[in-house]
């Protein structure tokens, strides 16, 4: 120890002087005065000296002060490396801030002082085992930031360990560390890929962004690692933090381009198909199948598009841009335009953001005018815009110009031409030129306008006009000798070399059209030749040569004079040109065959220049990338591949290998269990915090694997055959209304989450698959079958998705038995339903036809003890209470009452069914009773069919469905008769918004474990004495809320479970009876609002009963 410190000391001294010199060097260049430089130098030296003392003192505050000053030095870019030994001793300090600052220092200088840096390693190794996750994470962060090659094995070990840490935060850090280690030692690639592979399977939203980043940096070509995680990533995307979203989206864009077929070729495929069908009717059937694939979008492709769309609303401009580019590169042509609005919105953001967004819009607008044309006015230039913004806007306006809007655009350009920013004015003239060439209708107008500009006072404007006119004239020279004459007249006043050169060139090129003027111009040029700019001289020589060939009589002498002047010019280019021209045009004995062709060489018809955008073809780079911005390939740019002609096997994305739980800490396997469900839940964010709480739970990881990757249907089914069936179910889902889709999505997900219990008991029936598509979607049907069979068949569809590896094999073989037929039928279904918005599919129709009788059957059924395998059970109790909807006085004879039958709604699973009995108390028949306007407008009501006529004194009961969206807000709508309409409202009690579910006690505990903290509300009440036995307890509870009874092992604890109708959030109620007739009511639900309302109602009911 002693020897080491002396060592340090001596090293110190050395380091001190070293750095003193360095500091001195750094300061001297800035100050011209050497003395001042020296003064500074000595002061710095002093300062550093006392820093060392401070660091070695015993006082924490002094050390901290010293470190703060050192950080100040680092920030200024001063060298403070000589303090390394003194600083590194404090690495194990108890003071957090001091420690952090030491870390900052260490990371900055470790590379330079490798040996000394090693002293700190053991501290970090210890900290890696700290119980505090923040300390573990920061230790890993610093350890991996120390760029010392010797510790690579230590880092590797630490990363591997951290990758299976309990805390997602630490795992995130380990993903970052992967990249650091890779840049330090690329040889570790193989090992690192293993870690990445492991982390990719992580289901925490916190980790996803970072690990994809690591993937992009270390092994972007290992697309095979993504397959299994593709669907999970898509589903998690909304909940990932914004920076991660950007990275994931750009990775998925590349992925999708390699895995899916192009959605752009639809038309061509159609043609091809019809032709073939015509000739080869024999093979039609087989063709049909292969061709069909070409224009059915892979559901995974659709999944990606759908899940990224909401992110267009992100406040982060980078996220919006990345979604925009994803749509640009992946979406079918007709869907791309949904990004327009969001992109235009970004234009209000900071100047730098505008710049990038405008660049991308410029590229897009070349290919797709239509996308941005309605927003043309958003690209109008303001005088306060920065120059590069102005020119980009100009570019876009030019791209957008067409026959219809050109007059508006030209009027706008007129204002710009007058701008005080001359660079911008010149740009505008070029833009006018481009408009003129692109739109032939306005060419003449533009030309005239440009000619007017020739008399402008500003040189740059004139010059630019001349150049543009020259280009325009070249495209159609015949009619425009007037303009050429006009330009010749202006020639004397124009001083800008480029413009003069252009005019001269025009003269020469069209000298035959202006036979009188051209020689005169040449005469003037001969006079001023020596004082002209090089470019003008060159064109003068050209003009002379051309005139010599066409009009040698008048210009022979002039030409010779100019050629002589050129011969002795200072510029070798001009001398060279002169020599060449002389040989070419003046025939002499030495000139060979070439001079014969002089006329053809010089006066050959020249193709008109193409005036085109600088942004043409820029989309060879992926939009939104750095490479696109700078228009060259940036290092590390990953090429976007072309669509494959044939889609690679889609089944690779099916998650079939169930990860054994052992490899991960058991807790980790579970972390994401509820996560994927939530991502598509109506919550916009998910609970990453829950993970910690879930950790103690157990269960097979198979179910979470499958549920994570599944989209709303059972698309994670194991075999590709099943894949198809799920596809069809998805199609049918799509066809139902939009809102239903979103909510039912979450619904099934939720179900899936809980299906893990059925799978232990159930055997998979081969028929399961057939019902798959219907069942998944239609809870109503489920309920029917559950009541009819009182068995578990209703959730078979779920069970086979959730089947663990054991049953899976069996099933696979079974499903293989009849795949042929199935594939076909499924594909037909999806073909038919190609359109997203075709009206309700058959299944739904059927169920609603059946509904009245079914409802009758279900009524009065009291399934308080349903088998535990059933998901949504029948109501435990249906209160008879009905509420007044419309009194007969206000209803002019029509009276209406409503009640909640507590049945799962048949129309849409997210709706609450309401039964309305209408009675006609008046003396005349009421006609056409139906539902009219509703508010809020978004309210989703399934109306009853219009009642054509209701006789006096007759009454009728109808049922309708209302999606209350899990809120107790009243649903207001109008009840209309032929003559009148009455505003009515249905205000549900909170208890009516649930659907009862049953589960085992074990599952109840598990669910409860996930819903602690802010999701839990509880209260203690004093119970009425008669409520102290089990049976009466469930009665008041069931009266208040539509919950299912969970069998309980303890006598004094009663449990009830349900889920909210709309979002399917689980609601758990526990009533625990205690001494002295008190009871503890606990409610666990993520819908905390509903939870507290339910609690209030329950308190009331139990206390008063």
């Amino acid at each position: 120890m002693l020897s080491m410190s002396t060592n340090n000391l001596s090293y110190n001294d050395q380091g001190g002087t070293d750095s003193a010199v360095e500091v001195g060097q750094e300061t001297t260049p800035t100050s011209s005065n050497a003395g001042a430089g020296f003064g500074l130098f000595s002061a710095d030296f002093k300062k550093n000296d006392d820093l060392k003392e401070m660091l070695e003192s015993n006082k924490e505050s002094l050390k901290l002060e010293a470190m703060k000053r050192i950080v100040g030095l680092i920030a200024k870019g001063k060298n403070a490396s000589e303090l390394f030994p003194a600083v590194v001793k404090n690495v194990a300090s108890k003071n957090t801030e001091l420690k952090k600052l030491v870390y900052v220092y260490l990371v900055r200088y470790a590379e330079e002082q490798q040996d000394l840096a090693l002293l700190s390693i053991s501290t970090f190794q210890r900290a890696l085992k700290d119980p505090n996750q923040l300390i573990r994470a920061s230790a890993l962060r610093v350890l991996s930031s120390i760029r010392v090659l010797i510790i690579v094995p230590i880092m590797m070990l630490a990363i591997k360990e951290a990758a299976s840490d309990m805390s997602p935060y630490v795992r995130k850090t380990s993903a970052h560390a992967i990249q650091k280690l890779y840049s330090l030692d690329p040889d570790q690639k193989e090992h690192l890929i293993e870690v990445i592979e492991k982390l990719l399977k992580d289901k925490s939203t916190l980790v996803a962004g970072s690990v994809v980043m690591a993937f992009e940096e270390v092994c972007p070509d290992r697309i095979d690692l993504i397959h299994k995680n593709y669907r999970k990533l898509c589903n998690l995307l909304v909940d990932v933090e914004e920076w991660g979203q950007v990275v994931i989206i750009s990775m998925l864009t590349r992925y999708a381009r390699t895995q899916f077929t192009s959605p752009w070729k639809e038309d061509s495929v159609f043609d091809e198909h019809s032709v073939r069908a015509f000739y080869e009717s024999d093979e039609e059937k087989t063709r049909d199948e292969t061709e069909a694939k070409a224009y059915v979008m892979d559901p995974d492709h659709r999944l990606l598009l759908r899940n990224t769309k909401p992110l267009l609303q992100s406040r982060n401009t980078a996220v919006v841009m990345s979604v925009a580019q994803l749509y640009w590169h992946l979406a079918p042509k007709n869907e791309v335009s949904i990004v327009t609005k969001s992109l235009v919105r970004l234009l209000r953001s900071h100047r730098e953001v505008q710049y990038i967004v405008l660049q991308n819009i410029a590229t897009m607008s070349i290919q797709r005018k239509g996308m941005f044309e309605p927003y043309m006015k958003s690209f109008y230039v303001r005088s306060t815009d920065a120059t590069h913004i102005k020119s980009l806007k100009l570019e876009i306006l030019t791209n957008l110009a067409n026959e219809a809007n050109i007059s508006t655009i030209l009027r706008e350009f007129q204002t710009y031409v007058k701008s005080q920013d001359k660079q911008f004015a010149a740009g505008t003239i070029q833009a006018i030129g481009r408009c003129a060439t692109n739109i032939s209708e306005v060419t003449d107008t533009c030309l005239n306008g440009l000619v007017l500009l020739l008399s402008n006072r500003d040189e740059t404007v004139v010059a630019e006009s001349v150049v543009v006119i020259k280009k325009l004239l070249q495209t159609q020279p015949t009619q425009h000798s007037d303009i050429i004459k006009h330009m010749a007249k202006l020639f004397d006043n124009i001083t800008v070399p480029m413009a003069r050169a252009s005019i001269l060139w025009l003269m020469g090129e069209y000298c035959e059209r202006v036979p009188k003027i051209a020689p005169d111009v040449l005469r003037k040029m001969a006079k001023s030749f020596t004082s002209e700019e090089d470019i003008v001289k060159l064109q003068t020589v050209n003009l002379a040569a051309k005139l010599y060939l066409t009009n040698s009589k008048q210009t022979k002498l002039l030409t010779q004079y100019i050629l002589n002047l050129g011969k002795y010019d200072q510029n070798y280019d001009i001398r060279d040109r002169t020599r060449f021209i002389r040989q070419l045009i003046v025939p002499n004995d030495k000139s060979g065959a070439l001079s014969k062709y002089a006329h053809r060489i010089l006066l050959a018809p020249k193709p008109a220049p193409v005036i085109q955008s600088a942004y043409k073809d820029r989309d060879r780079y992926q939009l939104g990338t750095l490479s696109h911005t700078i228009n060259t390939k940036a290092s590390g740019y990953l090429e976007l591949s072309d669509w494959p002609a044939v889609a690679p096997d889609q089944s690779v994305r099916n998650v079939e290998v169930i990860e054994p739980v052992k490899e991960w800490a058991p807790s980790l396997g579970k972390t994401g269990k509820s996560k994927p469900a939530k991502s598509s839940d109506d919550k916009f964010y998910s609970d990453s915090g829950e993970e910690e709480e879930e950790e103690e739970g157990s269960g097979s990881s198979s179910s979470d694997d499958s549920s994570s990757s599944s989209e709303e249907s059972g698309s994670d089914a194991e075999s590709s055959v099943e894949k198809n069936s799920s596809q069809s179910s998805e199609e049918s889902d799509k066809s139902s209304s939009q809102s239903e889709k979103s909510s039912s999505e979450s619904d099934t997900e939720k179900k899936k989450r809980k299906t893990k219990k059925p799978l232990q008991k159930k055997t998979v029936k081969p028929t399961a698959k057939d019902s798959d598509s219907d069942e998944n979607r239609n809870v109503a049907k489920e309920a029917r079958s559950s009541s009819a069979e009182e068995s578990s068949s209703d959730s078979e569809s779920d069970s086979d998705t959730d089947a663990d590896s054991g049953t899976e094999h069996k099933k696979k073989t079974k499903s293989k038995a009849k795949p042929k037929v199935e594939v076909k039928s499924n594909e037909e279904v999806s073909l038919l339903n190609l359109d997203d918005f075709t009206p309700a599919p058959v299944t739904q129709l059927k169920s609603s036809v059946l509904s009245p009788s079914l409802l009758g059957d279900l009524e009065g059924l009291c399934l308080s003890n349903v088998s535990s395998t059933i998901q949504v059970s029948g109501p435990a109790f249906v209160p008879e209470k009905s509420h007044d909807l419309l009194h007969r006085m206000t209803g002019k004879g029509l009276s209406a009452q409503y009640q909640f039958p507590r049945q799962p709604c048949l129309y849409q699973p997210t709706m609450v069914s309401v039964q309305i009995s209408l009675t006609n108390t008046s003396d005349h028949p009421l006609e056409q009773i139906h539902i009219g306007d509703r508010s809020p407008t978004g309210l989703n009501i399934h109306c009853f069919n219009t009642i054509e006529c209701l006789e006096p004194e007759a009454s009728v009961t109808v049922s309708m469905g209302i999606d209350f969206n899990d809120s107790t807000q009243a649903a207001n709508f109008q009840l209309c008769t032929k003559e009148d309409h009455f505003s009515v409202s249905i205000q549900p009690a909170v208890g009516e918004l649930f659907l009862p579910i049953t589960m085992t006690e074990l599952d109840f505990h598990k669910e409860q474990g996930k819903l602690l903290g802010m999701n839990e509300s509880s209260a203690t009440i004093t119970m009425a004495a008669e409520n102290m036995t089990s049976q009466p307890i469930s009665r008041p509870v069931a009266t208040v809320a539509n919950l299912g009874v969970v069998p309980s092992g303890q006598d004094n604890v009663h449990r009830f479970a349900g889920k909210t109708a709309s979002s399917g959030a689980v609601v758990l109620v526990t009533v625990e009876l205690r001494e002295l007739s008190t009871a503890l009511i606990t409610i666990n639900t993520e819908k905390s609002v509903m939870g507290s309302m339910l609690l209030r109602d329950l308190k009331q009911a139990l206390a008063q009963a």
């Binding site: 406040r315 919006v320 006015k377 109008y380 007058k418 402008n456 990453s688 609002v1089």
Partner: protein
């Protein structure tokens, strides 16, 4: 991703540098300085500058350039957005984001930058989380820290980082529970010479200041949510709920935040008539003439309110960049004060409140450079104004409800219309 960050002040000095990977020499900034020299205005420096080995992406805020050094492909917006987030954070911490403030708080700045990026990839950018990791400096805390030796660095991982609501701190407590919402709309418009509107659109934001105890769950509903068809949200807003019901439902971050921003263009106000426009609350009558050969020019400007729904137009400020040929002006305002800077040729007229009975005007003559030709463009006039208690688009908040907590919060909502980029071409 982001390799290093340099902070450059307006005179071209690097006053702070931070490296997240190995150190990049500050000489890389020379390319930036070159571009800076080439640009006529500070704003004209291109945001992306390629150099042989690196790429420089910069933003300019508060006359400080934040220059990020990038080594390989990364979406430029990613970097730009992050840099702006850094500036916002500084502003949040120090009140202002100036060179002096950054230099004074260099340690906090460094700690912040350290937390915000790990290996160049954003780690924690949410203000509420950062504030738990690193406490913002206050005078009181500085004093306490020096006496007790405690630090302003948090020791625990902020719970938000891992929780359902990463943007909200846990354990928030207030004695006065209040939630204020400001609906601020800015109108961007270009008015042409004849007074007709070329383009007009409204950019609105709802800024919130929420100081509520515990975990409140708020819902905000609008009278006319259909106006909002182009919106972006704070991550706290439940998107699905908005899609379904057009209700903003969210657990708010603690303190100030921007709940949403929206865009109302003339098109989506009236979907059928594409030409119909956003109501313009002021009009300008102007007569600015330069005569050929004369060294005098006339300048007349009158402002008046229109379509303001009875609300007064306040804080009116007119500014105009006069042509280079103008030497001086001799103008008479009927109210307010005007200034003309002969060097920058910037005319500004602080009008104050517009009285509809007696319209403010500015009249007089301009003296031009003798012999100089008549400027070919009349100056554009930029106008700023405010209208209190009204949102131009007509957006109205219906109600604010709170769930999840028992107390009754104090709720407030304020409307305001401002001129954004409001230009009149003459």
């Amino acid at each position: 991703m982001i390799h290093s960050l340099f902070l450059v002040n307006s005179s071209g000095d690097i006053f702070l540098e931070k490296h997240w990977k190995s150190v990049v020499s500050r000489s890389v900034c020379d390319y930036f300085f070159e571009a800076q020299e080439r640009a006529s205005e500070p704003e004209n420096v291109p945001p992306v500058i390629p150099t042989p080995h690196h790429y420089l992406i910069s933003v300019l805020r508060h006359s400080i350039y934040f220059v990020a050094v990038i080594q390989s492909e990364v979406p430029p917006l990613f970097v730009i957005e992050f840099l702006h987030r850094v500036v916002d954070t500084f502003q949040d911490y120090f009140g202002v984001c100036t060179e002096a403030a950054i230099k004074d708080n260099v340690v906090v700045v460094y700690e912040l930058l350290e937390e915000m990026l790990d290996n160049g990839f954003p780690l924690a950018t949410e203000s509420n989380i950062l504030k738990e990791l690193i406490k913002p400096p206050t005078i009181l805390r500085t004093v306490v820290n020096t006496i007790t030796g405690s630090t302003n660095v948090g020791e625990q991982l902020p719970t938000g980082q891992l929780s359902v609501v990463p943007w909200r701190r846990t354990g928030v407590k207030y004695t006065n529970n209040e939630a204020y919402f400001d609906v601020v709309e800015e109108i961007d418009a270009i008015i042409d010479k004849s007074g007709s509107t070329i383009t007009a659109e409204i950019q609105g934001v709802i800024d919130a200041c929420v100081k509520l105890t515990g975990m409140p769950d708020l819902t905000l509903s609008f009278m006319n949510p259909r106006l909002l068809d182009d919106v972006s949200f704070h991550p706290c807003v439940r998107f699905k709920r908005w899609e379904a019901e057009r209700i903003l439902s969210f657990i708010p971050p603690d303190g100030n935040f921007r709940l949403l921003s929206y865009h109302v263009s003339s098109q989506n106000l009236h979907p059928l008539r594409s030409t119909s426009l956003v109501a313009i609350p002021v009009y300008v009558k102007h007569n600015i003439t330069f005569r050929e050969g004369s060294s005098q020019g006339r300048f007349e400007l009158t402002l008046g309110p229109k379509q303001t729904m009875g609300k007064g137009v306040e804080a009116v400020l007119v500014s105009s960049q006069l042509p280079r040929g103008v030497l001086n002006t001799n103008l008479n305002p009927t109210q307010g004060t005007y200034t003309f800077d002969p060097v920058t040729k910037l005319l500004s007229w602080d009008v104050g409140k517009i009285n509809p009975q007696k319209l403010p005007s500015l009249k007089g003559s301009m003296s031009l450079q003798a012999g100089a030709s008549k400027p070919d463009e009349n100056p554009t006039i930029n106008i700023q104004f405010k209208i209190q208690q009204s949102a131009l688009s007509g957006l109205k908040v219906n109600r604010l409800d709170m769930y999840g907590e028992k107390y009754k919060p104090f709720k407030g909502i304020k409307y305001m219309t401002k001129a954004g980029k409001f230009q009149v071409r003459t």
